[in-house]
């Protein structure tokens, strides 16, 4: 379990990093927290010719929280975002999700943006970005582009990132007033990738009826599966909504696969159970109540 040979680059400015990446082309890989890339290298599942370690590039670790949402820089660690009071105030879902990501030691090094680029369908942060309709800002020597979540996740462990590009930051848009969120998952062990998990966002109107309700499901498809269940919630007050029935609609939309940890049927079942729990608690939070 030693990596194959590679050239190591440690650029100290963004411009230098983009130059190195441009020259490396498809043989280049960005190293951020290394919590996913290093194991891949050690198991020789990835053999990039060039590793571009961006950890010394200044200015990439920002966490900017405002009424519009939260912008997270490429070097903002999971733990920093999890603990950021501004981020938590603007979007409680960030903290709810990050507490489910791995273990504290991994969160201390792993980055939110790295997790998005890594695009593991079992990962929490891609689901959060997809649920909120956020975006990822990509930079290359030729310029920058902002890719919406719906286009960013293209398959299991595949994103829209092109050779030569660095993901600069990700933007998680805030929700309207009277919104609430929740994220529940079942993992085999504490901190493991989820067997199934559901993030929910519910927005109520002034009469406390459901104005919008969405879920994003992990581990049940090649990319986070976002389902808009607003219409299934019915016109009545949210407190009276039949969340189990709504969750049934979610279940029907996912197409999980079985593996050594769980059958496809169990994953589908769990997605329903977790969707009901997450939606109910998101609706409660939207009313300003604790679950």
């Amino acid at each position: 379990m030693k990596p194959p040979p590679f050239d190591y680059h440690g650029p100290v400015t963004l411009g230098e990093a983009l130059d190195v990446l441009a020259e490396a082309g498809p043989g280049g890989k960005v190293l951020a927290g290394g919590q996913s890339l290093i194991p891949l290298l050690n198991m020789r599942l990835a053999a990039p010719a060039h590793i571009v370690d961006v950890n010394r590039v200044p200015g990439l670790d920002g966490i900017e929280a405002g009424p519009e949402g939260v912008r997270v820089g490429a070097l903002a660690r999971h733990a920093a975002v999890e603990r950021s009071p501004g981020a938590a105030a603007a979007l409680p879902l960030l903290r709810q999700a990050l507490r489910l990501v791995a273990h504290p030691v991994i969160r201390n090094r792993g980055t939110v943006v790295g997790s998005l680029v890594h695009a593991d369908p079992a990962a929490e942060m891609p689901a959060v970005l997809a649920l909120l309709g956020g975006s990822v800002r990509l930079a290359s020597r030729d310029g920058e582009r902002e890719v919406p979540a719906a286009e960013f996740f293209t398959g299991p462990m595949e994103s829209a990132l092109r050779p030569g590009e660095l993901a600069l930051s990700a933007f998680f848009p805030a929700l309207p007033p009277r919104s609430g969120t929740a994220f529940y998952e079942v993992a085999r062990r504490h901190g493991d990738y989820a067997v199934a998990g559901v993030a929910a966002a519910v927005t109520l109107d002034e009469d406390l009826r459901v104005a919008a309700a969405r879920v994003a499901c992990v581990s049940v498809g090649p990319v986070p599966v976002v389902v808009d269940v607003t219409s299934a919630c019915g016109p009545g007050p949210a407190a009276a909504a039949g969340w189990e029935a709504v969750a049934g609609a979610v279940q029907d939309r996912v197409d999980p696969e079985g593996d050594i940890h769980a059958t496809a049927e169990y994953r589908r079942h769990l997605t329903g159970v977790l969707a009901a729990r997450a939606l109910r608690d998101a609706a409660l939070a939207a009313r300003g109540e604790e679950s």
Partner: protein, 794 residues
């Protein structure tokens, strides 16, 4: 300060060093040594057609590439079958490097030596091996069909077949007893594979001294003395020219008792051939596919019993999957079939096992060594009987217990040491009483009702076991008091974290009457002690503990003799306290043990103050006796061995309360209680630590771990990402109570404790989940996904 340390919860003396990073594990040694890496088979069953190394030759830093063709003499032969048995009619072992056929994914095919491990792995990646794929045999059912064979010359894939039968009253056979019984049950049980997975894998580091023509080998092993003998034999070296040392070892749990591993002979061989230091450190992936696994069995049970639940006849057929090779013989299924009976006396018993080849990693003992499977079988049977009769599960168990006045109790079977299975002592009814009290068995119905009122589902389970511990043939101890008053204890068996530095020092300090700070302990170093068996089968405390105590008694006797002369007293009036030999009740008439050590060795040359007192013109001995009297030896040291007639039998009972989520089918252990009897406790804190670790591994086996082989024989979860060893977050708080039924078999009255914790856990969790769910559990481990499937099938 007292020197009575036996039985005290002395804090582990090794921990300070180990937890502050000062441990010296195999990979911490040999800075700058060449590194070995292996090309391993990617196929479960294949014929090697060609090995092409031409691309690898160009790797900068490459030193050597070896295949089976390069191996000389005994090295080219199959590795030893360590424990032959008449029933193992078709034992097979692997070659150090595969010869022609590979029989499991991970089997070593080529050894590469290079300047460092990175380069060695680069070269490995460039070596092309052409294989002709053969049909793999995976899973017990597939194997017993015998359509495809793991070894061409082993028909039906059956390596061993053994029947043991114990007749009941009046010579009635088990089958007759079952047929005549008022109630009968018949069912199948499955238990999956797991593995030891010590956090430190295996590792070997060898230094050849060309001037001295000697070899020093460090190995992360559970038996340095036997590795030494194996290396000497395989490399054709005189035994005195080989030293083997087990440095700090980061866990073993059984896998490191197997020897010699291919690497344990190949690395020293390469070191000698190259005249360079060579090291190999096993990585995690290698460990999963090229070490050992255990546990996988299918059991067919038939039981006949009376209205009280007393078992009149028990007939068990076991299919045991031993993987591709049998280097460790059939110890595991022998233990399953003999320890299955646990604390119970059954009317008549018949057990039959077939030990089966599959194209998977070999099976050798893993902590518990076949007992978890046996206990699972027996305890599932007890629960089935209770359910059938509508009786309390603990009542049925109690009805079958061997009673305290029935010891020694002969189960009528032949145990793993080839000796009769005779339990030495125990008190099972008392253990069960303690356990029920600890877990609150009798008040559980109310607890269940309270939980149900909150929409929660909980269940309680129980499991009992008896564990043969401290198997022979022997261990030895050497104790030396040096002239500075320090006590140096050594024993040949090895340590893998058990706390031997502490408990052996407690024994020596107690026996010799010295402060524990004066005692140092060395294990697993053949330079210090050449004769040993190894650390396995919960035997270290019993075997080496007693041997060290006996060696200390020799030293003490000699010390008293010398001191008596110096003090002009009767040795029978002397005592040793805090390192001073003194006349009982007269502390002023005393002499330090250090001085006794000086006096024990008449010297010619004075090199320091102490030595001056023992030189020929200073010594006060009489002129008409030789300075070293007949039958004496210079020095204050003693060596002795402990060799028991048979094993001693520890016992224990566990209970658990689990909660199952009605929606997600997640299983959580709410409480876990252990009553444990390992005879006299040397150190209760260490025993508890051993229990906690064992239960943790048991929880792994019950709820998380399995070896997920696909039909091609690929292990799909060969990493800690997918092989779910429980974290601290998955292991419950463990409540323990001790019972001390001394063993009459050894001087210290102790029994082994190392494996105990793991043994009944799968049985206990199965019992508790079954109780919570009302679904019969017949397969372990059980995952939430499995439980969900069972609910769907209900």
């Amino acid at each position: 300060m007292t020197t009575k340390l036996f039985g005290e919860p002395v804090r582990r003396r090794e921990d300070d060093r180990l937890i502050t990073g000062r441990g010296r594990y195999l990979d911490d040694l040999g800075e700058g040594a060449l590194a070995a890496a292996f090309v391993r088979s990617p196929h479960a069953h294949a014929r090697i057609l060609d090995i092409d190394v031409s691309d690898a030759i160009d790797v900068e830093g490459l030193v050597a590439i070896y295949t089976w063709e390069d191996l000389p003499g005994a090295l080219a032969e199959p590795l030893p079958l360590l424990i032959p048995h008449p029933a193992l009619t078709h034992g097979r072992t692997a070659y150090p490097l595969a010869r022609e056929i590979v029989r499991h994914v991970g089997e070593p095919v080529v050894m590469v030596v290079a300047r460092d491990r990175y380069l060695a792995e680069d070269a490995c990646a460039l070596i092309r091996v052409d294989y002709e794929i053969l049909k793999p045999v995976v899973g017990i059912e597939e194997a017993v069909r015998g359509v495809h064979l793991v070894h061409e010359d082993v028909p039906g894939n059956v390596g061993a077949h053994l029947v043991q039968e114990v007749a009941g009253p009046g010579g009635v056979t088990a089958r007759e007893a079952i047929d005549a019984a008022p109630h009968t049950l018949e069912f199948r049980l499955d238990i999956e594979r797991s593995a030891c997975t010590p956090l430190e894998g295996k590792g070997v580091y060898a230094r050849w001294d060309a001037d001295d023509e000697s070899l020093r080998v460090y190995s992360s092993t559970q038996t340095s003395t036997s590795v030494r003998m194996a290396i000497a034999a395989k490399l054709g070296l005189p035994l005195p020219k080989v030293e083997v040392i087990a440095p700090d070892v980061g866990g073993g749990f059984g896998v490191k008792i197997v020897h010699p591993w291919p690497e344990e002979v190949l690395v020293p061989w390469a070191a000698r051939l190259l005249g360079r230091e060579v090291k190999w450190t096993e990585d995690r992936r290698e460990h999963f596919v090229s070490s050992s696994h255990e546990r996988g069995q299918v059991q067919h049970v038939r039981a006949g019993f009376d209205d009280e639940g007393r078992v009149l006849g028990l007939d068990v057929e076991i299919l045991h999957d031993h993987g591709a090779y049998t280097p460790y013989g059939i110890i595991v299924p022998i233990i399953t079939s003999t320890q299955l009976l646990g604390p119970y006396k059954v009317g008549a018993y018949r057990v039959e096992f077939s030990s089966i080849y599959t194209n998977t990693v070999q099976v050798t003992p893993y902590r518990g060594a076949g007992r978890p499977q046996g206990v699972y079988c027996m305890e599932r049977t007890m629960d089935r009987i209770a359910a059938h009769l509508g009786r309390d599960r603990t009542e049925v168990r109690a009805a079958n217990f061997i009673q305290p006045d029935e010891f020694p109790y002969d189960q009528g079977l032949t145990f793993q040491d080839g000796r009769p299975l005779i339990y030495d002592s125990g008190d099972y009814p008392e253990a069960l009483r303690l356990l029920k009290e600890l877990i609150g068995w009798d008040s559980f119905p109310e607890e269940r009702a309270r939980a149900a009122a909150e929409g929660r589902r909980i269940g309680i389970g129980v499991g009992c076991y008896v564990e043969g511990t401290g198997v022979g043939p022997y261990e030895g101890g050497h104790v030396q008091v040096t002239s500075d008053g320090r006590v140096h204890v050594s024993t040949g068996l090895t340590s893998q974290g058990q706390g031997h530095e502490t408990v052996f020092a407690q024994i020596a300090a107690t026996e010799l009457g010295v402060p524990i700070e004066k005692v140092s302990v060395v294990t697993g170093d053949t330079r210090r002690f050449g004769y040993a068996v190894g650390t396995f089968a919960s035997r270290a405390a019993v075997m080496s503990g007693n041997a060290i105590a006996l060696a200390c008694r020799k030293v003490r006797e000699k010390a008293l003799r010398i001191a008596a002369e110096a003090l002009e007293a009767d040795p029978r009036d002397l005592e040793i306290t805090d390192g001073m030999v003194h006349v009982a009740g007269v502390p002023s008439a005393s002499i330090p043990l250090a001085t006794v050590a000086v006096l024990s060795n008449p010297l010619r040359y004075a090199f320091d103050e102490e030595a001056r007192r023992a030189t020929q013109f200073a010594a006060s001995g009489s002129d008409d006796r030789p300075p070293v009297a007949e039958g004496e030896e210079p020095g204050l040291e003693g060596r002795d061995y402990y060799s028991p007639i048979r094993s001693t039998f520890a016992a224990g009972m566990h209970a658990a309360i689990v909660e199952t989520d009605p929606d997600t089918a997640e299983i959580r252990i709410l409480r876990y209680a252990v009553v444990h009897d390992c005879g006299r406790l040397i150190n209760p804190m260490i025993v508890e630590g051993q229990i906690h670790g064992g239960v943790a591994q048991g929880v792994g086996g019950a709820l998380y771990e399995k070896m997920a082989y696909d039909e091609h024989g690929q292990l799909l979860n060969a990493s800690f990402m997918d092989f779910l060893m429980p974290y601290a977050t998955e292991v419950p708080h463990i409540e323990t109570a001790h019972l001390e039924t001394p063993s009459p078999l050894n001087p210290l009255g102790i029994k082994g404790a190392g494996e105990a914790g793991v043994i009944p856990v799968s049985a206990v969790i199965a019992s508790a989940v079954e109780d919570a769910e009302g679904i019969t559990i017949t397969r372990m481990p059980i995952s939430p996904s499995d439980l969900y499937a069972l609910r769907q099938d209900r």
